[in-house]
Point group: C2
Chain length 244, copies 2
């Protein structure tokens, strides 16, 4: 069973886990799991439990733990600072960057962002990220912050040792900019909204040490930039292999 | 005006172009262009015309050509062989791979594809690709084939000098597999459907010289794999810079 189910630590009782709510429904009604099936269950803190289903009731599933592993956190740190983009495209970016392995996502407002920050969005994006983790087998979901202002974003960037800004007016070859990137760095990726960044904003990023790089001749959409840049960074860090 | 409008060669008359249909509607009603505005108009064969709007009528826009450039075709060749995926996700893959610069897209059926091939789809995907070109400033749209069978796909692959297969069971580091890739190669990227490929299918690809590579620890969705792999290949060919 490739799909992972998420539970809370409080759902674990000695050798048994209790699965409830939407996870239980998905397991019982959609996947139609049966007593005796093996499933993998995990917490967002990296506890991974191989279990065997013992009971499926109307409201819950009970499974017996057969193996328990505490996974190590990723040995890298990649934070995507994403200027908020409209609706579904922001969700696509979060889903795909979660699959790719980005560790943190910080949405922020800038001169040209048009979406109003709202609290509902963070909850929705977190749910999306957890769904993506279940689908792709990722153990630790990304940490997704609530929307921050441009100045708060600049402040957070101060603690990063490598900052890459996807910028269409940049002539440098991305390979020259990214080469030699070390996995021990605290890496930030900055991607603009549909409207991009003003030249003043780009200057402010550069003043913090941000390296601008082009993603090619064409002007990529914001969510394409996020996924393309995340892919290339993971690849360049040599994380595109089965076990690392 | 960043947005490019597509026309046919037959819409060009001496120093004037006539823009009709949905392009005219978008120009006049959505973007609300005016007489005197400068726009860029192009054909799918690479003719790029900088124009100035002279007349906006109910059904058409007439613009005067100020500069005419015949663009050179891309100096690289990247074909995405994409096992067909359901609905919106296939469209997303085509849109984003168009933005990234993939030159050809060949949808194909395999053991685990569930979508029925239909003629309507090719027309829709081509329209999507052209929209993406207008948005991102790409001159030559990708050539998108009608759906082919697995065996037809194998046959087409014989003319490619470098074939990369995104395969989750592969242990090799992608960097080791892709390094030294030359821009003069005829490059094929193979991405599976939601269900992936059978081991027999993978063997057949390998027999044609396909190199398997992992896209990381997590199991990426099909459309994420297409975009991630295309990004990395464009990057590795040093095409991630403004002018090439």
């Amino acid at each position: 069973m490739a799909r992972r189910f998420f539970i809370n630590e409080s759902d674990i009782n000695n050798d048994y886990v209790t699965i409830t709510g939407s996870e239980h429904l998905h397991l019982s009604k959609v996947l139609r799991c049966k007593i005796g099936d093996n499933i993998t269950v995990g917490t967002i803190d990296g506890l991974v439990l191989d279990c065997c289903i013992k009971e499926i009731n109307k409201n819950k599933t009970i499974a017996q733990i057969q193996q328990k592993i505490l996974m190590a956190k990723p040995n890298y740190n990649i934070t995507l600072f994403q200027a908020i983009i409209k609706g579904e495209r922001m969700e696509w970016a979060v889903e795909k960057c979660t699959e790719l392995g980005v560790t943190n996502i910080v949405p922020f407002t800038s001169s040209f962002t048009t979406v109003k920050a709202s609290d509902n969005k963070q909850a929705k994006l977190n749910r999306l990220a957890i769904e993506a983790c279940k689908q792709c087998g990722r153990v630790f979901p990304p940490v997704i912050d609530n929307v921050v202002s441009f100045n708060q974003c600049l402040n957070q960037l101060k603690s990063f040792s490598q900052i890459f800004l996807a910028y269409e007016n940049e002539n440098s070859s991305a390979k020259d900019v990214i080469k030699g990137l070390n996995i021990n760095e605290n890496i930030a990726l900055i991607v603009g909204s549909e409207g991009g960044f003003s030249s003043e904003e780009v200057e402010k990023f550069k003043n913090l040490g941000a390296k601008c790089l082009s993603l090619g001749k064409n002007i990529l959409r914001a969510e394409t930039s996020a996924v393309a840049l995340s892919s290339v960074i993971m690849y360049e860090l040599n994380l595109w292999k089965k076990d690392f």
